[in-house]
Amino acid sequence: MSLLRREEWQHFVRDVDWAFSYVDDEAVYPEWHSGTGKVPREAWLKWEEDYKVTYPEYVATQREKESAAYAVKAALQRSSSFDTLDEGWKSSTKMHFGGIALVEYAAMLGELKMARFGLNGAWRNMATFGQLDELRHSQITTFFGHEFVGKDPQYDWTQKTFHTNCWVPISLRNLFDGMMIAPNVVDLAIELPFTFETGFTNLQFVALSADALQSGDVNFANMISSIQTDEARHSQQGGPTLEILVEHDPVRAQWVIEKSFWGSARAFAALTGPAMDYYTPLEHRKQSYREFMEEWIIDQYIRTIQDYGLKKPWFWDEFMRGLDTWHHALHMGLWFWRPTIWWRPKAGVSKDEREWLREKYPNWEGVYGDKWDVIIDNINANNVEATLPETLPWLCNMCHLPACNPTQSRDGSWRVRDWSLKYDGKTHHFCTNACRQIWWKDRDNVNHETVIDRFLAGQIQPMDVSGILGYMGLTPDVMGDDPDYAAWTKDYVGRSATGLALAPAESEES
């Protein structure tokens, strides 16, 4: 005799809602936490997850996964594989550990919120598994990153990043607070499990897992592919929620999708774009960032939202054009402001690498080549000093990333534009038209200070680069620098140089 099949009894686990008598339903599920909006309360009775799981199944499966992931780690710990990894690849992992570990924890908080405020018992149960999954991801990522702190202090930022006011985590907190921890659970289920987990995390996890194997980092590939196996389960909360919202309030569904898609696209251009197109050694690159976006986001995600009866986002053309510029501009920004980040960004613009970039992005040379040439020539003239920052870039009031996106004018020239907006006596500046529009619609939540606003208001002292680095929590042992200037400048040694910065004494005279 064996146990009863799950289908025989699971409806009892799912059927745990009741009608309150001693308190108001609105008090238990307040609108801004539960977010039913125009959807009638009873419509949520129909909520049903596609992927069913029970508690005993969950703990048994997860125990196996955990043993496997940690066994691989233990086996590799004895090898010297870490020491032989390319610096560019190591930078991708530092960025990942620092940029992701605590985001997994933020997702745990989001799942706990859905486990409390979700509008259907089955949904709350799924979220109870979801919070365990996200805890798993934060713990395994933190633990794997911790292993390397003795070898390289930049791995300290695995835990530290999001406790600082570095501009990168400010931008990411702004995004993830808004889509994972703070929103009502209906929006949250569409933003986190649906847009983020069925869409964008594929970029970081699938792409990076392939790159990790190519780069010989089996340990890292092991970790992230094990994490990815959990997504299918808890990301199921998005679909049923979206289905109900689309039926009763398609306008809101469209807006929630658009807002979270745009924010995610901006963040991943900063995080995944440089890792894929610049840090991963040329011989190990499988696809460009653009190609990967086309395959995983543009085709799959858009097909998915259209299946739910939604439209392509209104900013689609701006987004598509950005695939050729955003991450290249952000890469240049990350490299130039390298003392403000916790990894060693490699420029990745040797002749061969440029050839690859030109092939993948036909406009690359025209938009970015001349800027890199100025940097290259200054480095070859032994003037690294001239390539280090003296001030801050203008940050977008919506995504908090540098406003550095060039677009093409009618005369063919490329210029970085400022999208500004006057509101409440202040002029706000945005990196893109969509950032401006999203800010306007969501202004009650997102109207707050960028690092630039804080700097100009005198909150950062002293008002110079040392004050900025202190405010951002960067210590000298962690500040990023290029790991190997010669690697990408030696191809150009001896050519006639233009645009050299003058030595400080001469520039004062001129």
Binding site: M1, L3, L4, W9, Q10, F12, V13, V16, W18, F20, S21, Y22, V23, T54, Y55, P56, Y58, V59, A60, Q62, R63, E66, L102, Y105, L109, L112, A115, R116, N125, A127, T128, F129, Q131, L135, R136, S138, Q139, T142, H146, V149, G150, P153, Q159, K160, F162, H163, P169, N174, D177, G178, I181, A182, P339, N445, V446, N447, H448, S466, D477, M479
Partner: protein
């Protein structure tokens, strides 16, 4: 500006632990300061307008809670539970549960239940999944709002434990329904939970606790008052009554669940000690909430005690049930607060 030379001495662990002599444990490495909304020097919990609804909620119910501590990151779960340890432990526990369920199914034990015991299972045991789901929600809220990841994780595991209990109750509901199709089991639970007089004080308690939004009050209401009281009725005393009425399976299954309640009690007690050590004023806040929730819990226990008295062939006196639950809670509180003196 220049990029200064690298510092020579290698780190042993995260700088968040300070200059520690002792290497932090695996539990501490994985748990410490994981929640960025609790970072020091924050203007508000969220990187948003300080007066956004989410920031105001956290300001009201977490930052301005009567429970205050100098440094919440110093709290430790006495079980040092990590995700890996949790799923491993519970997979073992569930394998044991599954084995027992199979054995008793093989023996067709449900067919041999005394009519009174079956009535008790119908009126008390199977409808309890609604109550326990409410506990699961409140524990999830405690985790969502807690001021440190050390508390959030413990609450997250406890919420999952409640789901474990709901799951087992659901499984048993189906088994009993199959063995006794005319008993009403599997059909009448919600009606009993919503209308049966014996359940109403417990339902009132959990509904009220769902809207106790100060995180400290939610923790106190559930982990210090309602759960210790009602677990005593629904786990310990139910187990004893089941044993006295020949229902060995219920007796065994309830004893398996006791481990989860004991673990929750351990970290809850440790959290009380921690709060009071951090700030003496916390004791009064906790005691005030305990006073508020005690009569609610006692009424709930008394209501359910009626079922333990009247349904089974060999019942326990209702007033004894209520007194036993009160005594169990008071003994727990004595242990919790005694450790402080």
């Amino acid at each position: 500006m220049t990029v200064p030379a690298k510092k020579p001495r290698p780190r042993r662990t995260f700088s968040a632990f300070g200059d520690v002599r002792r290497m932090p444990s695996e539990y501490e490495v994985m748990t410490h300061a994981q929640n960025w909304t609790t970072r020091s020097n924050r203007l508000a919990a969220f990187e948003q307008n300080p007066s956004s609804p989410a920031n105001l909620w956290f300001l009201t119910y977490r930052e301005n809670s009567p429970l205050q501590a100098e440094d919440w990151e110093q709290f430790r779960d006495p079980d040092s539970l990590t995700y890996r340890a949790y799923v491993s432990m519970q997979a073992d526990a569930e394998a044991k549960t599954g084995g027992v369920l199979e054995e008793y199914a093989e023996a067709e034990a449900d067919r041999a239940l005394l009519p009174g015991q079956l009535a008790l299972l119908r009126c008390l045991y199977t409808p309890s999944r609604y109550l326990v789901h409410g506990c699961q929600q409140i524990e999830a809220y405690v985790g969502y709002m807690a001021p440190t990841s050390y508390i959030t994780n413990a609450a997250g595991f406890a919420a999952a434990d409640f789901l474990r209990r709901v799951t087992l109750t659901a499984y048993r509901t189906r088994e009993l329904q199959l063995a006794h199709p005319d008993s009403g089991i599997g059909e009448s639970e919600r009606r009993i939970w919503e209308t049966d007089g014996s359940w109403q004080p417990a339902r009132r308690a959990i509904e009220k606790a769902l809207i106790a939004y100060d995180w400290g009050e939610a923790f106190t209401a559930l982990n210090l008052v309602l759960a210790p009281t009602l677990d005593d009725v629904l786990i310990r005393q139910f187990r004893e009554v089941s044993r006295d009425n020949g229902d060995q399976l219920s007796w065994l299954l309830a004893s398996f669940l006791q481990a989860d309640s004991d673990r929750r009690n351990r970290w809850s007690a440790a959290l009380v000690s921690f709060c009071v050590e951090q700030q003496p004023g916390n004791e009064e806040a906790l005691r005030r909430w305990i006073r508020r929730w005690t009569p609610i819990a006692d009424e709930a226990a008394a209501g359910l005690g009626g079922l333990l008295q009247t349904r089974p062939e060999r019942g326990h006196d209702a007033s004894q049930v209520a007194a036993g639950a009160r005594a169990a809670r008071e003994a727990f509180h004595a242990r919790v607060f005694e450790g402080l003196r």
